[in-house]
Amino acid sequence: MTPLGLYQPGTSVLHRAAAGHKFLALLALAVLIFVVHSPVWLGVTALAVTLGYPVARVSPRRCLQLVRLLVPVLGLVFAAQWWLVGFDSAAVVCLRLLVTLGAANLFTLTTRVDDLVTAVERGLRPTRRFGVRPERLGLLVGLTLQAVAALSMIAGQTREAQRARSAERSLPAFAVPFLIRTLRHADELGEALAARGVDDD
């Protein structure tokens, strides 16, 4: 199974743009959509993000995967918000979610972790004076992205095992093995990183 949002090699404009610039743009976008309240402008932003997918030549299969994930989540949030607060605010909340998730996913699809880590390290170099360790932060960003992929893989495999034992409805049957495997993965990853000299700088 393919975890969502992993880097897909390509040569599009978005692939070639500097990782640091893309990251800043992503942060700026996140700030922007929380100061904008107009559904119209949020809609325009959402459209712009969506256009990014064909620009990056993301495969239709990948897009479909994202749609299948987003539609139920957004549908649920929209219904709840509409019922609780009203149509306008439901639309605003959902558009914000759509823009954030869509843009973040587009970012990880077109950016190699190594490039992002390098960019973050370079960007944070001036903070060294205040005791920040840029290489640590860069590694943290890289590993966070990696952890998302690892967790989604563990979740997928646990769900398959659960299905094989026809225990789909049972929460403990999912949560217990998921937690144990996650903790073990964390232990093993820690040792592997130590063996590669990451712990002792």
Partner: protein
């Protein structure tokens, strides 16, 4: 040279290793023994992932419990599960990641990573999502990511356990051709024919320490 001097180890009350003394000078050494006999604990001491509670380990005269960093720079380690050793999304990035602290330019890191992948049968996989490689390829990638650091010693803890027979053979053949000193922990006894020395552990003690044939014969008797 790897020296274990009167190594004892306990996890809480539970004694796992008892008075193990070994001087490993041979190029290809294997640790075998039943589950829980202490092989992994002993192997992990070589690069300071575990510190012995008694005795000491020396790798070319340096104690990993005191100078972990210096020792880890010279000792590579390949684990059983390739999924938790691969830390970057693509194969090329994962190998290049090992070189982060070498002060090399990015182009040079990529060049070395590609060279390493090509040497071990993964040519052209630089941009391939690492987690979509086959089990055997993933373990080769883990090996590449260690070897690119040019260690003097390579410790492998059951690196072939999750591989099929053909990949097991191929992996061990690769290990045999490396210039590094190899310490291999394994349950695949058939693969040890070309090793220089086999150490059999039993309940935390050295039960046999010999050439592969006599050592494995002793081990087979021990478990029957």
């Amino acid at each position: 040279m790897i020296e274990f001097e009167g190594i004892g180890h306990r996890y809480g009350e539970h004694a796992v290793l008892d008075d193990v003394t070994l001087r490993l000078t041979e190029q290809r050494v294997a640790f075998v023994g039943a589950n829980g006999s202490g092989k992994s604990t002993l192997a992990r001491m070589i690069n300071g992932l575990v510190h012995p509670t008694g005795g000491r380990v020396l790798v070319d005269g340096v104690d990993p419990a005191r100078q972990g960093r210096a020792v880890r720079n010279r000792v590579g380690f390949v684990f059983t599960n390739p999924d938790s050793q691969i830390v970057m999304p693509t194969a090329g990035e994962d190998v290049a990641f090992s070189l982060r602290k070498k002060g090399l330019s990015r182009a040079e890191r990529e060049r070395r990573a590609s060279g390493m992948l090509a040497r071990y049968g993964l040519a052209g996989y630089e941009e391939h999502p690492a987690h979509q490689l086959s089990g055997g390829q993933k373990q080769l990638l883990a090996l590449c990511s260690m070897l690119v650091l040019e260690p003097d010693v390579l410790v492998c803890d059951e690196p072939t356990t999750l591989l099929d027979l053909r990949n097991k053979r191929r992996f061990v053949e690769l290990l045999e051709q490396l210039p590094q000193q190899i310490v291999l922990v394994t349950h695949d006894l058939d693969l040890l024919g070309n090793f220089d020395r086999v150490v059999v552990l039993d309940e935390g003690r050295v039960a046999a320490d010999d050439l592969p044939e006599p050592a494995l014969e002793h081990y087979r008797k021990l478990i029957s």
